[in-house]
């Protein structure tokens, strides 16, 4: 019985969320942002992109968000083109490095924005914004303006704005880069467990080895000059995760291994 359920679950989930088929990016000024990339992202995966500065992490994320188009190669979302994205079960949300909130709108209106833009009825949108705010623990701040919040709170608003659309694919570009370690650890823990509960697929850019290990099911190590995938690292640790994992010896071992990989990637990134 259990086996059968698992069987059906895996058949459904076998449809990859994103397939990157030899997609490469050469910028208008001739810079080779990314060499041809081959990557398949499966449902429920938490993938971190890590690598030296300029190796094309943001570029890869923008390709996945269709913010830029590949120069050559192909991108597939749920086995189709980008027009499939945005329908039920195929929602995409992007969290930028900065919160990018509208300073003239209160927190709740900021969170409601994607629903308003999609033309959702006011009452329903309000309800869902409330729920999303509650999820990031900011119910109290709903009627405040962004400038009245701390950096960490603003980032949480930005995450609530992403969650409010009930995304199936969440893309985040160094969302916690500017935060102190304590806040970052807390937000990391919330995020990874939320993604697990909702079976969200996440692609996450980070510079932190610890963060990558703690969050990910799979880590893509990238190298620069030209931007490319250098190695993959699987984090074989069950969800949900908490501080116990962070303090375990396994965690330390994995960090060491990833650190070694990253050093190799840096060496491989030196200009020829």
């Amino acid at each position: 019985m259990i086996d059968m359920l698992d069987q059906t679950a895996t058949t459904i989930s076998r449809t990859p969320v994103v397939e990157i088929l030899s997609a490469e990016k050469i910028f208008a000024n001739g810079v080779r942002g990314l060499d041809p990339i081959q990557l398949s992202i499966r449902p429920g995966e938490f993938i971190s992109l890590i690598g030296p500065s300029g190796c094309g992490k943001s570029t890869l994320l923008k390709l996945i968000a269709n913010l830029i188009e590949p120069t050559d190669g192909k991108m597939l979302w749920w086995r189709g083109d980008f027009s499939k994205v945005g329908t039920i079960g195929r929602q995409l949300a992007f969290v930028f490095q900065d919160p990018t909130l509208m300073p003239w709108s209160k927190v709740d209106a900021n969170v409601r924005l994607p629903l308003d833009l999609a033309g959702m009825p006011k009452a329903e949108a309000r309800q869902r914004a409330e729920a999303a705010l509650a999820h990031v623990g900011l119910t109290q701040a709903a009627k405040r303006y962004p400038r009245q919040l701390s950096g960490g709170m603003r980032m949480r608003v930005s995450i609530a704005r992403a969650l409010v659309t009930n995304p199936d694919l969440l893309l985040m570009d160094e969302p916690f880069g500017a935060l102190d370690e304590f806040t970052r650890n807390k937000l990391d823990e919330d995020l990874v467990n939320l993604c697990f509960e909702r079976n969200l697929t996440n692609v996450f850019v980070t510079h932190s080895i610890y963060e990558a290990i703690f969050l990910s099911t799979r880590i893509i190590v990238m190298a620069a000059n030209p931007g490319r995938i250098f190695a993959e690292y699987i984090v074989d640790e069950p969800m949900p995760r908490n501080d116990n994992f962070r303090r375990s010896d396994r965690f330390g071992d994995m960090c060491r291994e990833l650190s070694a990989l990253l050093s190799d990637a840096s060496l491989a990134s030196l200009k020829p």
């Binding site: 930028f96 300073p103 003239w104 924005l113 833009l117």
Partner: protein, 266 residues
């Protein structure tokens, strides 16, 4: 309890008012003590006296000046905003029209006003035209800059969410442009008054004006210095009130989010 001098209303209202009272009292005292004749430099009481006795013609003129000022201000805001919206719609429109907007701006109004007054028969129309010509530029340039200076991150977010042109304009560009627009409004309101008065002076030399500038000229012909001061006082008062109204408007619309209109936080 906070000391008196640190309360907000004290700093903003009482302190400047106190300075004003001291100046008026010193002025009054000096004129009396040194027996300055009222036809050379009138005492504050002489001016008040003149205001009281000549209130009918003075306030009639004030009305006439105000009418031109507000008309010019209103025209500047509507036409200026419309032009700014056109500019951001297309670079070509901006490139072809901007030199002429600059031309209007750099030509001294005093040099063009006589021409306008001769060409346009109706005085009020001519005066309004002159005032509009100088009051419109800050609106055009500020609103254009405002509509252009969209936060690129937010713009990308709107694009990613497939926001339409209208939604982007209404939810992103206009709110983002508001601080710039309001700063333009503040300058433009003052320039409307300046333009109206300058145009009245020029039209007044032809004897066809009824505004406060005309009162000043008439008073100067008759060497009625207190009346000159009374008219001047009314012009200044109008300017100050206009400015205060714009500051208030800025506070109402921006006070909760934009630095330019926020009370200092400590």
């Amino acid at each position: 309890m906070t000391p008196l001098a640190q309360r907000p209303w004290f700093g903003k209202v009482m302190a400047p008012l106190a300075v004003g009272v001291i100046i008026v009292i010193t002025w009054q005292w000096a004129c009396t003590a040194f027996e300055v004749p009222r036809y050379l430099f009138p005492k504050p009481t002489d001016i008040a006296d003149s205001l009281a006795t000549n209130w009918r013609p003075l306030f009639g003129s004030l009305w006439s000046t105000l009418y031109v000022t507000f008309l010019a201000f209103g025209l500047s805001v509507t036409i200026g905003t419309a032009i700014a919206f056109m500019f951001v719609q297309s670079k070509l429109i901006e490139l072809s029209l901007l030199p002429y907007a600059v031309l209007l701006q750099v030509t001294p109004i005093a040099a063009v006003a006589p021409l306008i007054i001769i060409l346009v028969k109706d005085t009020t129309t001519a005066l309004t035209l002159c005032a509009t010509v100088i009051a419109i530029f800050p609106i055009i340039s500020n609103t254009t800059i405002g509509l252009r200076s969209v936060d690129p991150g937010l713009a990308a977010y709107f694009r990613m969410n497939k926001a339409g042109r209208w939604a982007t304009l209404w939810r992103l560009r206009i709110p983002g442009a508001l601080p710039f627009f309001l700063a333009g409004l503040r300058i433009s309101s003052g320039l409307s008054l300046v333009g109206a008065v300058v145009a009245e002076f020029i039209a007044g030399t032809g004897g066809t004006s009824a505004g406060l500038a005309y009162q000043i000229m008439q008073a100067s012909f008759q060497l009625d210095i207190p009346q000159m001061f009374a008219a001047l006082f009314l012009i200044t008062l109008t300017g100050v009130l206009l400015f205060a109204a714009m500051v208030k408007l800025q506070q109402i619309l921006l006070g909760h989010w934009h630095e330019s209109a926020m009370e200092a936080e400590r």
